[in-house]
């Protein structure tokens, strides 16, 4: 079936299920409202929890007087930070201990580091009682110095966000003792970074100072690159802080039963959230039951659900009753995570032909007060990959501030890197008289393109890149040349402009497990540990298994969303890795099932396994003759036992998978396999993004007239879901151009944009009605199914293509930070120069 908006293209040529549309099994529940999200669950005797949030951006809680609150009828328990279990170390699958960060974020605190940080929680018989109890609590707070602007804390004598500094410092791991276990990674420490007055004075008006940074890498001869350049641009740009704004806030219900904690919440990753909860609560993962059937959006803020769900779990234990914690939109704005803004200064050299000969990139990441996000480093890696500069230096500092904690948000760092780089490429093309598509075609990665610094004499490389083809196909579908040539560009008060952007992000990991059960009724049960985060990968990847086994989709069932239902070791759904990682695991598992079916046929019907084929719900002898139905084969598997029905398992499976498979043993044919397929390179997906805008120069208002995202995302698994990701994530990026942001009052360290109508995520009416997408459908050569992930790669292009279309319409002297709202445009057009405050945080 061809998809609307997809250029009439059909996908999945030669496949039965892969590349085809189908109604997903969660569809009806979602559109009819029957789907049960965390807040929809109820438990007998359930209490409600409310949070007391810090009114100050940095303070020490000297005393909590909760006597009046506890005296209120209906108040059952109050939880404070000293009742939290100590932060627990994490153990990786290869046995390395990651030491807990004693200065990392916890669910409650006695030293709030941002305004809105939870200090304590109250459980009561209803929310009204809990709220009134909060109001009866007296806090004695000692205000401490604070800072919300990363450049302010870098100034000499500038305030520090934490009592001991403004950056994280990581000491190297101690050397391993000969023959001993791998040494544990020590926790990071807080240090101080200050730039000199001379650094600030030397920056020049509106330019980011370039003081020393804790991190740096380079490759190639930077100075030679700049010498070769016909054009060198040196630009400062600021990207916005944006809350994840999931429609479902991070509410959770928890209760304890027979020593186990049962948690109901929305998470991006079902299987992997269990060990996370166990770590936060200092429990054995076997004592955690997680139910997360539906998740109302994550975008990186709920990769393994939020640390905040510790609160109802501990309150429940303390009160001896189930506790529901419903998070309001304002609370979500504080604790719900956000993308960090990057301030970037990039010096970029272009040859006369437009080839990027050198990039000197410095970025400052506004991290918030807690654990460091990787956006600064990702921005450098993605710029290095996506524009293939002949020489590059990256420098970065991730600076702590008293603002709500950041986390990965769709294409973390990559999105910001693209947004820092793209306007420079667009400007260079105008200066050099080059077509915008042509200059990107000249610089973009191809094949096993290298990226990043040299490590031990080698640079990393990608599995494959066909971005040139995506640019060509996208330009054709968007009628790029026709739009560029169209005149007049201005009619009345309205000006049109077109923009193109490259975009990419990581798109896959390896090494996870799959698990399926073929029952004696001939049905296949796929055990899915993937979270149902709205991308449909929770179900989509299992179409691969059904296709390999020749089973009609109607005879398959996908089990998801409940950790007590025997789910295998699965990747987290973050970093757009799921479709790649879990189609590989699904492939390996289906091949294991097929081999077992062939062996069962051989044992039952005679001959060697290689004589048998699996198709059309049968195992049959090649060329005709004896056969078994899958139902009969499942009965034989139970009779034969051992490796066939899950009683003997492959030793390379993860212990999580082994436990799940053992629980299924004896119920039919059990197939379980680890993805051990080779891979050469780091998997990324790529997008060419095209936008046309129309600006009214008398109001500064603009609208996005048209948009197209064309993807190089490997084999297409599910076109409709892919289209949803290509365009949905593009819109997430567009929000960063159109108006989404944080606004702070710097004097009080207070976030002002706490509601949707302040922070302004884009609505359906802010984007074109009929956006288009397409995909090359070229298999990635380094994975058996050919599919790569796609969630994050479109985000950067969604934003940057609009920025580039705006400067095409209005010229280069209009904006120097995103978002670009009508006030910025109108003020700049009036003044003839950019009028946005160049570097100030949170305006």
């Amino acid at each position: 079936m061809a998809e609307e908006g997809a250029g009439g293209r059909e996908y999945g040529t030669g496949h039965r299920l892969v590349g085809k549309n189908y109604p997903t099994p969660d569809l009806v529940a979602k559109v009819t409202g029957q789907a049960r999200f965390a807040e929809d669950h109820r438990a007998e005797g359930m209490l409600y929890c409310k949070l007391l949030l810090s009114p100050m951006p940095h303070a020490r809680v000297r005393r909590i007087d909760a006597r009046e609150a506890l005296a209120l009828p209906g108040v059952k328990a109050i939880l404070t930070a000293d009742e939290l279990p100590p932060p627990a170390d994490a153990l990786t699958d290869n046995g390395t201990v990651i030491k807990a960060n004693p200065k990392g974020e916890r669910a409650l605190t006695m030293e709030p580091l941002y305004r809105g940080e939870p200090i304590l929680a109250v459980a009561a018989v209803d929310e009204l009682t809990a709220a009134e109890a909060i109001e009866r609590i007296h806090l004695d707070l000692e205000p401490l110095p604070f800072v919300i602007d990363p450049l302010e804390t870098l100034r000499p004598g500038g305030p520090n966000p934490r009592t001991d500094g403004n950056i994280w410092v990581r000491r190297p791991a101690p050397p391993a003792s000969p023959g001993g276990p791998a040494p544990s990674t020590p926790p990071p420490e807080v240090g101080e970074l200050k730039w000199t007055a001379a650094d600030f004075a030397a920056a020049g008006p509106g330019q980011l100072p370039t003081g020393k940074t804790p991190e740096e890498w380079s490759h190639g001869d930077l100075e030679a690159g700049f010498q070769r350049a016909a054009l060198v641009l040196d630009e400062t740009f600021v990207t916005p802080d944006t809350s994840h704004q999931t429609l479902e806030t991070r509410s959770a219900l928890a209760y304890w039963q027979n020593g186990k904690v049962h948690v109901f919440t929305g998470t991006q990753s079902t299987a992997q959230t269990v060990p996370a909860i166990a770590r936060w609560l200092n429990l054995d993962p076997a004592d955690v039951v997680l139910v997360s059937e539906y998740t109302g959006g994550g975008f990186g803020s709920k990769i393994t659900a939020g640390i905040s769900l510790v609160i109802p779990a501990l309150l429940s234990r303390k009160a001896g009753a189930p506790v529901m914690m419903r998070i309001s939109r304002e609370e979500e704005t504080y604790i719900g995570r956000a993308r960090p803004s990057l301030r970037g200064r990039l010096r970029v050299g272009f040859t006369a032909q437009g080839r990027i000969s050198a990039v000197d990139m410095l970025v400052i990441c506004d991290n918030g007060p807690y654990d460091a996000v990787g956006d600064a480093a990702s921005a450098g890696r993605i710029v290095s990959l996506l524009y293939q500069p002949e020489a590059m230096r990256w420098r970065g500092a991730t600076v702590l501030t008293n603002t709500p904690p950041r986390s990965a948000q769709s294409a973390p760092g990559g999105m910001q890197g693209i947004v820092l780089m793209e306007p420079i490429v667009a400007k260079a093309a105008r200066r050099l008289g080059l077509d915008q598509v042509a200059i990107r075609r000249l610089n973009c990665p191809e094949g096993k393109a290298p990226f990043g610094p040299e490590v031990q004499g080698r640079r990393a490389h990608v599995t494959s890149a066909f971005l040139k083809e995506a640019l060509d196909r996208g330009a054709e579908q968007f009628r790029w040349k026709e739009r560029v040539a169209r005149t007049p560009r201005r009619m009345g008060t309205r000006v049109r402009g077109v923009g193109v952007s490259l975009s990419c992000y990581v798109g896959g990991s390896i090494g996870f497990d799959g698990l399926l059960l073929l029952t004696p009724d001939g049905r296949v049960h796929f055990q899915s540990g993937i979270g149902n985060l709205g991308t449909e990968s929770v179900v989509d990847v299992h179409r691969v298994g059904a296709e390999i086994l020749g089973v009609p989709w109607e005879r398959c069932e996908v089990i998801w969303g409940d950790s007590s239902r025997n789910l295998p070791f699965t990747c987290v759904s973050g970093g757009s890795q799921t479709t790649h990682a879990m189609t590989r695991a699904a492939h390996a598992t289906a091949m294991d099932a097929r081999a077992k079916l062939q062996r069962i046929a051989a044992l039952t019907l005679g001959g060697g396994p290689e004589l048998y084929e699996v198709a059309d719900e049968r195992v049959f002898r090649r060329g005709g003759g004896a056969s078994l139905t899958l139902a009969e084969a499942a009965q034989h598997a139970i009779r034969l036992g051992g490796p066939f029905d899950g009683h003997e398992l492959s030793p390379d499976l993860n212990k999580v998978t082994r436990a799940a498979a053992a629980a299924l043993a004896g119920r039919g044919l059990v197939a379980a396999a680890k993805d051990a397929y080779p891979r050469d390179g780091v998997t990324h997906s790529y997008v060419a993004s095209f936008a046309e805008v129309e600006v009214d120069v008398e109001t500064g208002k603009y609208r996005v007239v048209d948009f197209l995202a064309f993807g190089d995302v490997g084999s297409v698994i599910h076109p409709r879901a892919l289209g949803g990701q290509m365009l949905g994530r593009s819109v997430l990026g567009m929000g960063h151009a159109l108006g989404q942001r944080w606004v702070f009052d710097p004097h009080y360290g207070a976030l002002l944009s706490t509601r949707f109508h302040h922070s302004k995520p884009p609505t359906i009416l802010d984007v074109p009605t009929r956006m288009q997408w397409g995909a090359l459908d070229i298999p990635d050569p380094e994975t058996p199914v050919g599919a790569r992930g796609v969630g994050e790669p479109p985000v950067g292009g969604g934003c940057a293509s609009i920025l580039n279309a705006l400067s095409d319409a209005l010229g280069d002297e209009v904006f120097r930070r995103a978002p670009v709202t009508c006030d910025a445009i109108l003020a700049a057009l009036e003044a003839g120069r950019p009028m946005q405050p160049p570097l100030e945080a949170h305006v």
């Binding site: 009345g492 109001t699 944009s753 706490t754 109508h757 609505t763 009508c822 003020a827």
Partner: protein, 338 residues
Amino acid sequence: MAVIRDVMAEFELFQPSSVADVLRLLAEHGKDAWILAGGLDSLDWLKDRLRRPRAVIDLGGVEELRGVTETGDGLSIGATTTLTEVVQHPVIRRRYGLLSRAASLVASPQIRNQGTLGGNLSQDARCWYYRAGWPCYRAGGNVCYADSPVGRNREHAILHADRCVAVNPSDTAPALIALGARLVVQGPRGERVVEAEDFFVGPDVDITRLHALGPGELLTAVRLPAEWADRRFYFEKVRDREVWDFALLEVASAMSLAGDRIERIRIAVNGAAARPLRLPQVERAVRGLPASAATGELAGTLAVEGAVPLRFNAYKVPLMRNLVKRAIGGVPEAPWPS
């Protein structure tokens, strides 16, 4: 006392079925009473626990407050008529298109289905300091947080600020001023009818509210005179998002022409000050002039005289100038092929 901005505090709910009962309840409960219509403004205040009325008087059951009736001289619109009903009413669409256009740009379809015309007119300021419970002038304190050296005031006033720099958020208010509407207010001393422009007050008159309703008074209806029906109308709202957003600035005008010359005009803007501003200086200056771009330029320049921008809202000066200009001179069409 710690602060929580969630969960409505308890109150007693009254659901009267007549205006007389509403007035009686208002008299009975005095300062403890709160009038609830669509709830789009009220429920924010209540759920943030910043307003704690003891008696909430729900107008939803008062039939006489609802609906549109034709009168000898135009239309009468009940105060609890929903914005969607205002948008869709055939006579309003046909003869008072300015109002249906303005109402159609309020917030979002869901909010227009629930929100009422009276509520849209009498809603409170949306300044994010004030609405977050900061103890500012408007809240009875002695500071304006938005008008401070680092205050965030992109959405705030450029005209007639007096201690407070909040703006009036109503989209229908400037349209009603341009249409010469009169608002019917009932109270303890009976009924009074006020010109739409006189219904709104700035901080110089009363810094604690945006309208002129006295104690125990209720806005019951909006009367649209026939005099300003069927004129040449212009309405433009500039906002960040195309739905679910307050105006950064908006203009409404009704014009009668003799040939190409402006015979009479009423023009108002909102988003510039704490009250919707009728622009009499513009109305006077353009009378008798052609409705042209040049007249628009003159009008725009006059409109912004005396504007005092804050740190982040200087853009509102050219924006108001250009919107007034367009209201008079029109906007050239730009029909590109898409």
